[in-house]
Symmetry: C2
Subunit: 413 residues, 2 copies
């Protein structure tokens, strides 16, 4: 409904504008045809944080190739017992319609909550996925891709089933906390009667503008994280991240989609912080200050895995994280990582309950996350400072066009 | 140590600067005298979010009169059994020294964590307070102000003792999540052996720049919150918020200080959202869209509590929140509110665990929070949508000068 006349901006007018006019502009469906674009003219004065907007419609869903925002919510839902495939389809339509509005800074019809009023879209993205259990629940088992087969067990796993998997999965990201919360809350309300939250987690990244210029972010171990992430400009980016658009067969509905592997990875920060800076850098294989590989250069220099120092020792240790994780040692396996840090206070033993809400995007988990994690699980020196506490694997279909909803080709195909 | 030669910025250099130079600039104590201000010249190009900085030293502690930042951490500590007054004094010195560095965007000596590297100060403030129990624990009972006497019980209270009070209290705020986390984590590490975290909570506000221009923020009920907050330009602001600087007697050490009342206030959002917009506005007494009082005007218009509509009904209802909370009906009692929203997922019954980390600042709680809350507790129509789940009252001493630490006049007086 992007061009519906009831579609209204959520910006509040200050100053000399009459109060009645302001109310007409910002109040939801009640404003009706009185709302409109005519009130404000000239270039939009919203600052860059608020004015950032990501199209909802398109070949791929939003929230995959865009940089991770300052605030993230991950939430999984299970269908309630009485919900069938038709009810699930209706939910996906409600969700898609609301997401199309909110991501453009508009107030979805009937939404009077007001939490996001005044703010611009703030780069809000909302991404929907289906878990393994969704297909049996809705009689769509025949359409379940083999790529959704459960991930193998890893020795570092200490998974909590209650915070893992789920029928449906939603990834929300925005550069403003209230915009993100508002989206989460509205989607939850739209699900009432059809699906219940199974688990929900909050994450964060650096605020845009906190650094002098855009930089690769840091994680809660202090390390620059994401240097070697595939870039949309890479020649093979699309084939690695997205299911081909000409996909045919039982999972043709996944054309243009991607598979998301989610892992809640707690960092054992007390142990980590007890290492000297030098030992931390050996575990990672990069310098903490600027992210340069220990083989030399700057952050963007390709790591020389064969370089030996004057002491005859490998510059990048045999079990260094960047060696074990590198595409060069994984037959080219690659995934697009898009993570949020999390911090939920401290645990009973006083250790911080903090780490990474790791999300990896790939065309096929068997060629992305799974082989890389198998290797890390065996040989990564970083593993002993991490605990994988929750896990999920979700089929994230391609995007939809106006008038359609996400998952329509699955649910009505 | 603000001008110590070991004091180094945490900004990362990109581009053509040599890697060695970059490392010297950003690595902590290890950089030693090699770090310095000579590398970068001209105006600081940090964006406004990162470059915002609040002085740590001064008559009052920072984090009281400044607008609440986008990210907040509240944490209370209890002294460990073997810690005495001398140990507490040493902790406050370590904390003050580290806070003086971090709030100016510098790396405290010996801090190798790196989590805040690259970012500017991001308006970081760190504020220290003492709870009722601190004084008995440290043999300072004679110096405990009567203003720290426990708050009265209120009927809306459902307080969790484990998440209430504490010997020491720290309020951390910053516009970048990693800067805030880094400060919390370092203060926790500096406390090891002297004090243990008792409880810790995370909160948030709108990101600077998410709206077109600075505006009064909204809470998770969607309502504009803080319109009538005292402003530093008000004639009686200082006397309401701060203990006089010429205070004498047993609590002379509180000169220039303030009392913080903390309340974790859960919002019953499912019940709230079931009300129509009109009923929500009657409960508050203001229009949701723009915050104007229901007696007319705009957000900044003074509410006319006596106005009666053409239907003979009070424009602002008898139990409307702004009527019951207004200074006019509270013999002028006023406090400076400085809150963060919180959202910690959902509770077992599926309701959102979300609301307000309410912090009120006043020269005397008996003339600020206590009388207002007594009145709200009895007559506020909003009360039935709120649960006070945790509480704290802390004596927050005045600020310190370079070379001193917060609380020195108490601990060495």
């Amino acid at each position: 409904m992007p061009d519906s006349p009831a579609s209204v901006s959520r910006r509040r007018l200050l100053g000399t504008a009459g109060a009645a006019g302001a109310a007409a502009l910002v109040v939801g469906g009640a404003a009706g045809a009185a709302g409109g674009a005519a009130v404000r003219e000239g270039p939009d004065p919203l600052s860059s944080v608020g004015s950032g907007s990501v199209p909802f419609h398109g070949t791929h869903q939003a929230g995959i190739v865009q940089p991770a925002q300052a605030h993230g919510h991950l939430v999984a839902f299970d269908l309630v017992p009485q919900a069938d495939r038709k009810a699930a389809a209706a939910l996906l339509r409600r969700w898609s319609d609301a997401a199309a509005e909110m991501t453009q800074g508009r107030v979805p019809q009937g939404d009077e909550s007001g939490v996001a009023l005044d703010a611009g879209p703030s780069s809000l993205t909302i991404t929907f996925g289906f878990g393994h259990s969704f297909f049996d629940r809705t009689g769509l088992t025949a359409k379940r891709p083999t790529a959704l087969d459960p991930l193998p067990a890893f020795t570092a796993d200490a998974l909590d089933a209650k915070r893992s998997n789920g029928d449906l999965w939603v990834q929300i990201g925005a550069d403003d906390a209230l915009v993100a919360f508002h989206a989460l809350r509205l989607l939850q309300k739209l699900a009432v009667g059809t699906a219940k939250p199974r688990w929900q987690m909050n994450g964060f990244n650096r605020t845009p503008g906190a650094t002098e210029q855009p930089m690769t972010g840091r994680n809660l171990m202090g390390q620059i994280d994401g240097t070697n992430n595939p870039k949309p400009s890479d020649a093979n980016f699309s084939t690695r991240v997205f299911v081909p658009e000409d996909r045919s067969g039982a999972d043709a509905w996944m054309a243009g989609g991607s598979y998301a592997v989610f892992r809640r990875i707690r960092m054992l920060l007390d142990s980590w912080d007890n290492l000297s800076l030098e030992r931390q850098e050996r575990v990672i294989g990069r310098r903490k200050s600027d992210g340069a590989p220990l083989s030399g250069g700057t952050e963007s220099t390709r790591a020389d895995l064969n370089k030996v120092g004057p002491d005859g020792v490998l510059a990048i240790a045999g079990d260094a994280h960047i060696r074990v994780a590198s595409a060069a040692t994984n037959r080219g396996a690659a995934m697009l990582r898009r993570a949020f840090s999390y911090h939920d206070g401290f645990l009973d033993d006083g250790a911080p309950d903090a780490g990474l809400l790791f999300i990896a995007w790939q065309a096929d988990p068997l060629k992305g996350f799974t082989p890389v994690q198998r290797k890390l699980d065996r040989g990564d020196g970083l593993s002993r400072f991490l605990r994988h506490e929750a896990s999920g694997l979700f089929a994230v279909p391609g995007g939809c066009e106006p008038g359609e909803y996400v998952g329509q080709r699955l649910l009505e195909g």
